[in-house]
């Protein structure tokens, strides 16, 4: 008989969902049918039974109370709305704080998605790697590589699918007839557009960069030079030598901002190779040339990296000393990795992404905590209601569901407000982040996912604790007592939340003060390291040779204060050369500046020892050097004075011997996040090494006039040249936009978080005081004075505040130190930010507590006692 039993679980399932009064009939019939069928085939009978059970799962047969039809009763939509409306003040507080929290969180999610999407548009990105020097001739790691390495790797290693170098040929004039501008010209190999997914609007990715003198330009440039004409096949005059003049073979869509490779114009590498055949022998030179390879999927990358040593063995065997070690870095990691020397792009830092993350999460947490606090304190008022509901037969799960639903309504409504605010504040946000977000991106998958996750997490996170707490009482307890308010568990939770709120406000205050001061420091350093009114104008070698003529014409202009020239200007273009103490000793790679005597004054670089270079002294011309403090230190002199008069040797082959006649104070090259490099100033050591930049000090008020005067003078000497004047300080500031922006952004975040935390404190304190209002009234009747009451009420909160400080201050110290360490030069915060933060948050705390307690302490005790 036992084998003729119907399947157990389907039967149980039937019994679970089916209403009792139908069960006899349905179950009986099913079993009877099963028994009859089982006589023929047990397996078929069982299968039919399961099928019949499934078919019996109909709305009509469902048990009451468990499932769907009852949901509307349980959720009691209308009652939830009534509750929200009745407690307008609290609801408003809730909506505001949640909406702001959600707003900031969504904004951050956006920002993070954008930041982490860096370079992700290349479909082949997991197979693309960058070749770089892990160690180059004992000079350290370099992101740049020598010219011939790329082609050799392509030729010798079968696992390489594509290879392209990416080089910068500097800023050159580009001309189509009368239309001429300065452009940054890059060059790349034929594989470039096949390896990377930069979208070509015109041209074939396989061939655009194949032939010499081919150039591919961006959509913007195509419009700039050719207006509405079809650019394909047109000729562009690049530079003034005529060597680079190229035919446009393709047009690409403008490079997105989240790409580490940024370019407007790419020339074929074959152009350079055709011009300079010696490039392929430059194994031990280091021009600005980056090498990328795409490996076939499934290549053993560490094995490939190990094999790269063959390059050294086959081609650079004559190397005398030093390491020549090549490393590969996944292309996608390059942006976020610690930089080598001469990195191509400014590093995205995971640490500032992390900082934003922490702040955004804190804002969200604070607002969710506020929500929990306010909701739970409001639920106490509904204790009786819950009791009565239970007496009337409501189940606990039903009540929890109902409370959760109400929380859900509040969260959903807040999210809607957040979205409206988002659209309103978008321009401001774009301004702060330098991103281009549009309201349309609201509809992106990521944002919607974030919103839904937020909705669920906030509802559950904020709703479940108070809901479970309040429904845990037996009906008798909840009807009879008011004691829940003082229940230990409740009180502990509340204290913890207060400690959290205090800690957050102290932490964020310290953070924003330190960020603010560091940025002030950066900004003042920018001002200190760049005099206003210094124009930097790139020139070609022809113009550089006629510098004296140009200068004599320009100094006559009333608004021109001084005119100088230099081979390099920090932030524009640099060139690194070896310097030694003796011909055979180890070289120090230094930034080289070929200058006119007044250059240091023009750039407002100070001399800390010795003197300036003097053009009228033959000894200075032939053998005078000025080095910066870093250079002197790295050459082994322990003080600037010791370095004075010392002999050093400049150059790699043809050495120039000279004496150090002056030491310049250290100045920042580009970013304050980078260490200052050694630098050396001199008059031109070789005939071919000339000026690349004209540096003109002008009265800023007449800048435009001066620029047109310079254009006129330059035009007389070289009609082809385009004057591309830029103020040095403005150019310099560009390197710090990111930091300045991030600083502003985090200050805004912090201020919002502090406001939210104050709101939360207010909610908690008002509630805490209200629950003690009878006690206060009785104490008052018995003769307590307002100040005694105030002391009584405040004492507990102050104790919590002190506990919060114990957690917050070390954490604040640790985090801010970590952030400051990402700057090579930073303030040392000292105790002040911490003291100020403690004082301010203490003051806020005292104000709120005092306001609330004094209000209830001065109220007529009769009112509080009469209540109920």
């Amino acid at each position: 008989m036992s084998s003729k039993q119907p399947p157990k679980y389907p039967l149980r399932f039937l019994r679970w969902f089916c209403r009792e009064d139908y069960l006899d009939e349905i179950e009986g019939d099913l079993i009877e049918l099963f028994e009859k069928r089982a006589e023929k085939s047990l397996i078929k009978a069982r299968r039919r039974f399961v099928w019949d059970v499934m078919k019996s799962l109909r709305l009509r047969n469902l048990k009451k109370g468990v499932i769907m039809p009852n949901l509307f009763y349980t959720l009691s939509f209308r009652q939830s709305l009534r509750h929200i409306a009745r407690e307008r003040g609290y609801s408003l507080l809730n909506f505001t704080s949640l909406a702001i929290g959600a707003l900031f969180f969504i904004l951050f999610a956006w920002y993070a998605v954008e930041e982490s999407s860096f370079d992700s548009f290349h479909s082949n990105r997991t197979n693309i790697y960058r070749l770089a020097f892990g160690e180059y001739l004992d000079l350290g790691p370099y992101a740049t590589t020598s010219y011939p390495i790329g082609p050799a790797v392509r030729k010798d290693f079968p696992e390489v699918q594509f290879m392209s170098r990416f080089g910068n040929s500097g800023r050159l004039t580009v001309r189509n007839g009368d239309v001429a501008f300065f452009e940054t010209v890059n060059s790349a190999d034929a594989d470039f557009f096949e390896m990377f997914d930069f979208e070509l609007l015109q041209g074939n990715p396989e061939t655009v960069l194949e032939a010499p003198n081919s150039v591919v330009i961006s959509e913007t440039l195509a419009r700039k030079y050719f207006k509405d004409e079809d650019p394909l096949g047109k000729k562009l005059t690049i530079g003034s030598s005529g060597n680079y003049d190229s035919q446009v073979t393709g047009v690409f869509r403008d490079v997105p901002s989240n790409s580490q490779l940024q370019f407007d114009m790419v020339m074929s590498y074959s152009t350079l190779e055709k011009l300079y055949s010696w490039l392929s022998d430059l194994w031990q030179q280091m021009p600005g040339n980056y090498t990328y390879v795409a490996l076939y999927p499934g290549t053993d990358v560490p094995g490939f990296e190990a094999k790269l040593d063959m390059i050294k063995q086959s081609y650079v065997s004559d190397i005398e000393r030093g390491e020549y070690e090549l490393i590969v870095t996944p292309f996608a990691d390059v942006h976020f990795q610690e930089g080598l020397n001469r990195e191509l792009d400014t590093k995205g830092s995971r640490s500032s992404l992390l900082m934003f993350g922490v702040i955004a999460l804190t804002v969200l947490l604070v607002s969710v905590f506020n929500f929990v606090n306010l909701t739970s304190s409001r639920y106490l008022v509904r204790l009786r209601e819950m009791g009565i509901r239970k007496v009337m037969g409501a189940s606990r799960s039903g009540l929890v569901l109902q409370l959760l639903f109400q929380a859900f309504l509040v969260v959903a409504f807040s999210l809607i407000i957040a979205c409206v605010l988002l659209v309103l504040f978008l321009p401001l946000f774009n301004d702060l982040t330098g991103k281009d977000f549009t309201p349309e991106s609201l509809l992106q998958k990521e944002t919607l996912v974030t919103a839904v996750v937020l909705l669920i997490v906030c509802t559950l996170g904020a709703g479940i604790v108070p809901a479970l707490g309040i429904t845990a009482m037996t009906p008798v307890q909840s009807l009879k007592s008011n004691k829940v308010v003082e229940a230990g568990r409740w009180k502990a939770g509340k204290s913890l939340m207060l400690i959290f709120q205090y800690a957050v406000s102290v932490l964020l205050l310290v953070g924003s003060i330190i960020i603010f001061r560091q940025l002030q420091f950066v900004e003042s350093s920018i001002e200190g390291s760049s005099k206003t009114g210094t124009l930097v104008i790139p020139v070609n070698s022809g113009l550089a040779e006629k510098f004296d003529l140009l200068k004599s014409e320009l100094v006559g202009h009333p608004s021109v204060l001084d005119v100088g020239a230099s081979s390099h200007v920090p932030g524009f273009y640099g060139d690194s050369w070896p310097v030694r103490l003796s011909p055979g000793s180890d070289p120090l790679q230094t930034e080289n500046f070929v200058i006119t005597g007044n250059y240091l004054d023009l750039m407002s670089y100070q001399i800390v020892a010795g003197r300036q270079l003097n053009e009228s002294l033959a000894s200075d011309k032939q053998a005078g050097f000025i080095v910066n403090e870093t250079c002197a230190r790295m050459l082994g002199f322990n003080s600037p004075e010791n370095a004075l008069g010392q002999t050093i040797f400049f150059g790699s082959d043809e050495l120039k011997e000279g004496k150090i006649i002056g030491i310049a104070k250290d100045f920042h090259f580009e970013s304050f996040k980078e260490k200052i490099a050694p630098a050396l100033f001199q008059f031109s050591p070789y005939d071919w090494m000339g000026y690349n930049f004209l540096v003109v000090q002008v009265k800023t008020s007449d800048a435009l006039e001066v620029i047109s005067a310079i254009e006129e003078e330059v035009g007389k000497l070289d009609q082809q040249w385009v004057v591309d004047a830029e103020f040095f300080d403005e150019h310099f500031k560009k390197f710090h936009l990111e930091e300045i922006r991030q600083g502003k952004l985090s200050t805004v975040f912090a201020v919002v978080a502090i406001i939210l935390s104050c709101l939360g404190q207010l909610g908690l304190l008002v509630n805490g005081t209200l629950s003690r209002r009878k006690e206060i009234a009785i104490r008052k009747v018995l003769g307590a004075r307002v100040n005694q009451l105030w002391y009584l009420m405040t004492e507990g909160y102050v104790r919590l505040f002190v506990v919060a400080l114990i957690f917050a201050l070390p954490l604040a110290w640790y985090l801010s130190m970590k952030w400051l360490d990402s700057f090579a030069y930073h303030i040392s915060p000292g105790p002040w930010p911490f003291l100020v933060a403690v004082l301010v948050s203490g003051l806020i705390l005292m104000t709120i507590v005092s306001a609330v307690t004094i209000r209830s302490a001065t109220a007529n005790p009769v009112n509080s006692l009469m209540d109920e």
Binding site: P6, L23, D24, E25, G28, D29, E32, E35, K55, S56
Partner: protein, 108 residues
């Protein structure tokens, strides 16, 4: 009162309840229907239809005694009501009269 209307399957089940008289419950109705129509019917469809007919007052039900078969569950027997009988009569009359209006056409 508005005339009760029933669907085709409902009518079949109602007819079967009437035909089986005191022996009509889920399984017998199912078996007879399957046999007469020569096609499979799901028991759950019959259950639902019976409930619907009962709601409309066309059948009434009573429980049988507890037996050791059927997992100890009682049978639920259905009997046609006067209303149900009247409805079947009306349907039958309607159909017959319509049928007789068919002209004598040979389909040979």
């Amino acid at each position: 009162m508005k005339e009760q209307s029933i669907g085709e399957f409902e009518e079949l089940v109602l007819l079967m309840v009437a035909a089986l008289h005191d022996e009509a419950y889920g399984v017998t109705i199912l078996e007879n229907l399957e046999e007469k129509q020569n096609k499979k019917v799901n028991i759950s469809a019959i259950h639902v239809t019976l409930k619907r007919l009962e709601d409309k007052g066309l059948v009434i039900s009573r429980y049988g005694g507890i037996t050791s078969d059927r997992g100890g569950r009682r049978k639920k027997f259905y009997v046609i009501t006067a209303l149900g009988k009247k409805l079947l009569d009306n349907q039958y009359a309607l159909r017959t009269s319509l049928y007789q209006q068919i002209p004598k056409i040979s389909f040979g």
